[in-house]
Protein backbone atom coordinates (compact mmCIF):
# COMPACT_ATOMS: atom_id res chain seq x y z
CA UNK A 1 0.00 0.00 0.00
CA UNK A 2 1.34 3.36 -0.91
CA UNK A 3 0.67 6.89 0.24
CA UNK A 4 -1.63 7.82 3.08
CA UNK A 5 -3.43 4.49 3.47
CA UNK A 6 -4.05 5.33 7.16
CA UNK A 7 -6.11 8.37 6.20
CA UNK A 8 -8.31 6.15 4.04
CA UNK A 9 -8.84 3.92 7.08
CA UNK A 10 -10.18 6.87 9.10
CA UNK A 11 -7.04 7.67 11.12
CA UNK A 12 -6.32 11.39 11.48
CA UNK A 13 -2.87 12.90 11.05
CA UNK A 14 -2.56 13.58 14.81
CA UNK A 15 -3.37 9.97 15.65
CA UNK A 16 -0.86 8.78 13.05
CA UNK A 17 1.88 11.13 14.30
CA UNK A 18 1.27 10.10 17.93
CA UNK A 19 1.41 6.42 17.03
CA UNK A 20 4.72 6.84 15.20
CA UNK A 21 6.12 8.87 18.10
CA UNK A 22 5.16 6.26 20.65
CA UNK A 23 6.71 3.46 18.52
CA UNK A 24 10.01 5.34 18.47
CA UNK A 25 9.87 6.04 22.24
CA UNK A 26 9.22 2.34 22.86
CA UNK A 27 12.36 1.32 21.00
CA UNK A 28 14.91 3.48 22.85
CA UNK A 29 17.76 2.22 25.00
CA UNK A 30 17.23 2.47 28.72
CA UNK A 31 18.15 5.84 30.20
CA UNK A 32 16.63 7.59 27.18
CA UNK A 33 13.51 5.45 27.18
CA UNK A 34 12.62 6.34 30.79
CA UNK A 35 13.13 10.04 30.03
CA UNK A 36 10.93 9.80 26.93
CA UNK A 37 8.18 7.99 28.86
CA UNK A 38 8.12 10.72 31.51
CA UNK A 39 7.66 13.26 28.74
CA UNK A 40 4.76 11.30 27.31
CA UNK A 41 2.67 11.48 30.50
CA UNK A 42 -0.19 13.93 30.89
CA UNK A 43 -3.34 14.27 33.01
CA UNK A 44 -6.45 16.25 32.14
CA UNK A 45 -9.72 16.64 34.03
CA UNK A 46 -12.74 18.24 32.39
CA UNK A 47 -15.65 19.13 34.71
CA UNK A 48 -19.04 20.17 33.38
CA UNK A 49 -21.20 22.30 35.70
CA UNK A 50 -24.99 22.43 35.40
CA UNK A 51 -26.80 25.05 37.53
CA UNK A 52 -23.70 25.56 39.63
CA UNK A 53 -23.37 21.87 40.41
CA UNK A 54 -20.82 19.37 39.17
CA UNK A 55 -22.60 17.30 36.57
CA UNK A 56 -20.00 15.27 34.72
CA UNK A 57 -16.25 14.76 34.99
CA UNK A 58 -14.12 13.48 32.14
CA UNK A 59 -10.71 12.24 33.19
CA UNK A 60 -8.15 11.71 30.46
CA UNK A 61 -4.56 10.66 31.01
CA UNK A 62 -1.83 8.90 29.12
CA UNK A 63 -2.60 5.47 30.63
CA UNK A 64 -6.23 5.62 29.47
CA UNK A 65 -5.06 6.75 26.04
CA UNK A 66 -2.60 3.85 25.83
CA UNK A 67 -5.42 1.47 26.77
CA UNK A 68 -7.59 2.85 24.00
CA UNK A 69 -4.75 2.51 21.52
CA UNK A 70 -4.16 -1.13 22.45
CA UNK A 71 -7.87 -1.96 22.20
CA UNK A 72 -7.87 -0.37 18.77
CA UNK A 73 -4.84 -2.41 17.81
CA UNK A 74 -6.53 -5.69 18.81
Amino acid sequence: MAGQYWRAAGITYLQYANMCGSHVRNCLKEPFKAAAKVRENFVSNTVHYVNGKENQTIILNSELLQKELTTKKN
Binding site: A9, I11, A17, C20, V24, C27, K72, K73
Partner: protein, 167 residues
Amino acid sequence: MFRSLVKSSNLLKNSISVNSSKRFFATEASDDLLTFSLLSPHQTIYKDKKAQLVTLPGAKGVFGIAKNHVPKISELKPGIVQINHENGDLEKFFVSGGFAFVNPDASCYINVIEAVPVDQLDPNEVKNGLARYTQLFNEAQDENAKAVALVGLEAHQQMAYACGVSV
Protein backbone atom coordinates in the same frame (compact mmCIF):
# COMPACT_ATOMS: atom_id res chain seq x y z
CA MET B 1 41.91 31.83 -43.82
CA PHE B 2 40.89 35.15 -42.40
CA ARG B 3 37.47 33.75 -41.52
CA SER B 4 38.99 30.82 -39.72
CA LEU B 5 41.15 33.18 -37.72
CA VAL B 6 38.08 35.13 -36.62
CA LYS B 7 36.39 31.89 -35.66
CA SER B 8 39.27 30.74 -33.57
CA SER B 9 39.47 34.06 -31.78
CA ASN B 10 35.76 33.72 -31.01
CA LEU B 11 36.39 30.26 -29.67
CA LEU B 12 39.14 31.64 -27.54
CA LYS B 13 36.83 34.31 -26.16
CA ASN B 14 34.18 31.73 -25.38
CA SER B 15 36.57 29.47 -23.58
CA ILE B 16 37.85 32.40 -21.55
CA SER B 17 34.35 33.42 -20.52
CA VAL B 18 33.54 29.81 -19.57
CA ASN B 19 36.67 29.65 -17.49
CA SER B 20 35.92 32.89 -15.69
CA SER B 21 32.37 31.76 -14.86
CA LYS B 22 33.74 28.49 -13.52
CA ARG B 23 36.14 30.35 -11.29
CA PHE B 24 33.22 32.41 -10.03
CA PHE B 25 31.38 29.26 -8.93
CA ALA B 26 34.44 27.77 -7.34
CA THR B 27 34.91 30.76 -5.03
CA GLU B 28 31.21 30.63 -4.14
CA ALA B 29 31.43 26.94 -3.26
CA SER B 30 33.34 27.58 -0.04
CA ASP B 31 30.24 29.03 1.67
CA ASP B 32 27.67 27.13 -0.34
CA LEU B 33 25.96 25.85 2.78
CA LEU B 34 22.40 25.24 3.84
CA THR B 35 21.10 26.84 7.04
CA PHE B 36 18.76 24.47 8.82
CA SER B 37 17.04 23.96 12.18
CA LEU B 38 16.05 20.57 13.60
CA LEU B 39 13.29 21.00 16.17
CA SER B 40 11.05 18.76 18.25
CA PRO B 41 8.34 19.98 20.68
CA HIS B 42 10.54 19.40 23.74
CA GLN B 43 14.02 20.08 22.39
CA THR B 44 15.89 22.31 19.98
CA ILE B 45 18.52 20.02 18.51
CA TYR B 46 19.99 22.45 15.97
CA LYS B 47 19.18 26.10 15.45
CA ASP B 48 20.39 27.94 12.33
CA LYS B 49 23.11 25.35 11.81
CA LYS B 50 25.16 25.25 8.60
CA ALA B 51 25.36 22.01 6.66
CA GLN B 52 26.34 20.83 3.20
CA LEU B 53 23.37 18.54 2.72
CA VAL B 54 20.42 17.27 4.75
CA THR B 55 18.69 14.08 3.61
CA LEU B 56 15.08 13.68 4.77
CA PRO B 57 12.57 10.79 4.75
CA GLY B 58 9.70 12.42 2.83
CA ALA B 59 6.27 10.78 2.82
CA LYS B 60 6.64 10.35 -0.96
CA GLY B 61 10.29 9.33 -0.91
CA VAL B 62 13.70 10.23 0.49
CA PHE B 63 15.04 13.58 -0.69
CA GLY B 64 18.05 15.78 -0.01
CA ILE B 65 18.18 19.51 0.59
CA ALA B 66 21.22 21.64 -0.23
CA LYS B 67 21.49 25.40 -0.53
CA ASN B 68 19.10 27.12 -2.97
CA HIS B 69 16.63 24.26 -3.02
CA VAL B 70 13.24 25.32 -4.39
CA PRO B 71 10.81 26.31 -1.60
CA LYS B 72 8.61 23.43 -0.53
CA ILE B 73 6.71 21.88 2.36
CA SER B 74 6.99 18.13 2.77
CA GLU B 75 5.45 15.65 5.17
CA LEU B 76 8.00 13.32 6.77
CA LYS B 77 7.47 9.71 7.74
CA PRO B 78 9.50 7.66 10.26
CA GLY B 79 13.05 7.40 8.95
CA ILE B 80 16.59 8.66 9.05
CA VAL B 81 17.57 12.31 8.83
CA GLN B 82 21.15 12.40 7.63
CA ILE B 83 23.17 15.57 8.08
CA ASN B 84 26.37 16.18 6.12
CA HIS B 85 27.98 18.78 8.36
CA GLU B 86 30.05 21.76 7.32
CA ASN B 87 33.30 19.96 8.22
CA GLY B 88 32.30 16.78 6.36
CA ASP B 89 31.07 14.85 9.43
CA LEU B 90 28.03 12.63 9.00
CA GLU B 91 25.30 12.57 11.64
CA LYS B 92 22.16 10.45 11.65
CA PHE B 93 18.95 11.03 13.60
CA PHE B 94 15.91 8.81 13.63
CA VAL B 95 12.73 10.87 13.43
CA SER B 96 9.17 9.68 13.98
CA GLY B 97 7.63 12.00 11.40
CA GLY B 98 6.69 15.64 11.06
CA PHE B 99 7.13 18.35 8.47
CA ALA B 100 10.03 19.96 6.64
CA PHE B 101 9.84 23.50 5.31
CA VAL B 102 12.26 24.87 2.75
CA ASN B 103 11.95 28.66 2.82
CA PRO B 104 12.50 31.03 -0.11
CA ASP B 105 15.60 32.44 1.66
CA ALA B 106 17.25 28.98 1.36
CA SER B 107 16.85 28.13 5.05
CA CYS B 108 15.17 24.92 6.15
CA TYR B 109 13.09 24.02 9.21
CA ILE B 110 12.69 20.37 10.14
CA ASN B 111 9.91 19.99 12.70
CA VAL B 112 9.46 16.48 14.09
CA ILE B 113 7.66 14.76 16.99
CA GLU B 114 10.63 12.65 18.11
CA ALA B 115 14.24 12.88 16.99
CA VAL B 116 16.90 10.62 18.52
CA PRO B 117 20.48 9.82 17.49
CA VAL B 118 20.42 6.46 15.71
CA ASP B 119 22.66 4.78 18.32
CA GLN B 120 20.00 5.39 21.01
CA LEU B 121 17.69 2.84 19.35
CA ASP B 122 17.57 -0.57 21.02
CA PRO B 123 17.99 -3.33 18.38
CA ASN B 124 16.29 -5.96 20.60
CA GLU B 125 13.17 -3.82 21.11
CA VAL B 126 13.08 -3.12 17.39
CA LYS B 127 13.31 -6.83 16.58
CA ASN B 128 10.49 -7.68 19.04
CA GLY B 129 8.30 -4.84 17.75
CA LEU B 130 8.88 -5.91 14.17
CA ALA B 131 7.74 -9.46 14.94
CA ARG B 132 4.72 -8.21 16.95
CA TYR B 133 3.47 -5.82 14.29
CA THR B 134 4.05 -8.30 11.45
CA GLN B 135 1.82 -10.72 13.34
CA LEU B 136 -0.77 -8.03 14.12
CA PHE B 137 -0.84 -7.01 10.47
CA ASN B 138 -1.39 -10.58 9.30
CA GLU B 139 -4.14 -11.16 11.88
CA ALA B 140 -5.94 -7.82 11.46
CA GLN B 141 -9.44 -8.12 10.04
CA ASP B 142 -11.02 -4.68 9.63
CA GLU B 143 -9.48 -1.79 7.75
CA ASN B 144 -8.72 0.34 10.84
CA ALA B 145 -6.84 -2.41 12.68
CA LYS B 146 -4.92 -3.23 9.53
CA ALA B 147 -3.87 0.40 9.07
CA VAL B 148 -2.83 0.74 12.74
CA ALA B 149 -0.72 -2.43 12.46
CA LEU B 150 0.81 -1.24 9.19
CA VAL B 151 1.79 2.11 10.75
CA GLY B 152 3.59 0.16 13.49
CA LEU B 153 5.14 -2.22 10.99
CA GLU B 154 6.49 0.58 8.80
CA ALA B 155 7.91 2.46 11.80
CA HIS B 156 9.69 -0.67 13.02
CA GLN B 157 10.96 -1.55 9.54
CA GLN B 158 12.56 1.89 9.28
CA MET B 159 14.06 1.57 12.79
CA ALA B 160 15.38 -1.89 11.89
CA TYR B 161 17.01 -0.43 8.81
CA ALA B 162 18.44 2.44 10.89
CA CYS B 163 20.07 0.26 13.56
CA GLY B 164 21.12 -2.58 11.26
CA VAL B 165 18.65 -5.29 12.32
CA SER B 166 17.96 -7.71 9.46
CA VAL B 167 14.28 -7.68 8.46
